[in-house]
Symmetry: C2
């Protein structure tokens, strides 16, 4: 068997998977996020995409960022809130989220429980960009976005 | 917004998704399978892969087939049995199945409940091949495979 290929069967146990490393969300510790882990479920040599599982602990949030590559997301566990562009929605288990190129986005575990999601992404992709102060000011022109960001950026 | 792109948010309701067509599993009615439906959750213009949801009704099974492209599978609903190459396993919700190129494979809803699974696949891919009589004879040299196939091919 190709050493880079996943074994045919891998068991699930409490949101961990057999043989899958439980990783920090970002390798760059200076990026703003809170209480997120990452597991790469599929990174196959013949496939154009990867499938990852991210889990945000209660009150945690992913990095507010954007990039050229798209994300295709299915909520696998729990509930929370999600921003895509200027739209904010409550999301629940099995809901779908599509993040188009260059849309600002963030996931937040706002429901007192973990928010876990699958994310399909191109294997070859650009690095995420963080918002400048000017970007943040532009985002805040949408009142719902300002309220969403305030909950992350200025915790009570 | 790009008309070919999915909307940012799509709700889940009883293993159907908002705006997602509930399709027959195969367009070719001569292919052997039983009680399977297909929903394409993500087919995005910028992504190298698609994400589909297949659901096999109790006692149903997917086509026994193989192809050059790989499949990356996560069981989303229920339990059942799965063959990959000459290996057969019981699979449950959230287990992972990796189907390498040219491996014979089949999913069977053997537990008296639906077996639903997500399947990530390259957007550009070859067509599945069905087994010849010689292929079936070769598969049957593995006793567990023969027993698995007998349950499908010669129902009591």
């Amino acid at each position: 068997m190709d050493q880079d290929r996943s074994p045919p069967f891998r068991r699930f146990d409490d949101y961990r998977w057999e043989g899958v490393a439980h990783l920090p969300y970002k390798e760059d510790a200076t990026t703003p996020f809170k209480s997120v882990t990452r597991q790469v479920l599929f990174h196959e040599p013949d496939m154009g995409c990867e499938l990852r599982y991210f889990e945000v602990a209660p009150a945690g949030y992913s990095t507010l960022e954007r990039h050229e590559h798209a994300h295709a997301v299915l909520i696998l566990r729990g509930r929370g809130d999600c921003m895509v562009g200027t739209e904010i929605r409550h999301v629940e288990t099995n809901d779908l989220v599509s993040i188009p190129p260059w849309a600002w986005h963030q996931f937040r575990a706002t429901a007192g429980e973990p928010l876990g999601f699958l994310c399909m992404v191109n294997a070859l992709r650009d690095k995420p960009r963080l918002p400048t102060e000017a970007d943040r000011a532009a985002m805040r022109e949408t009142p719902a976005v300002a309220a969403f960001l305030d909950r992350t950026e200025r915790p009570a």
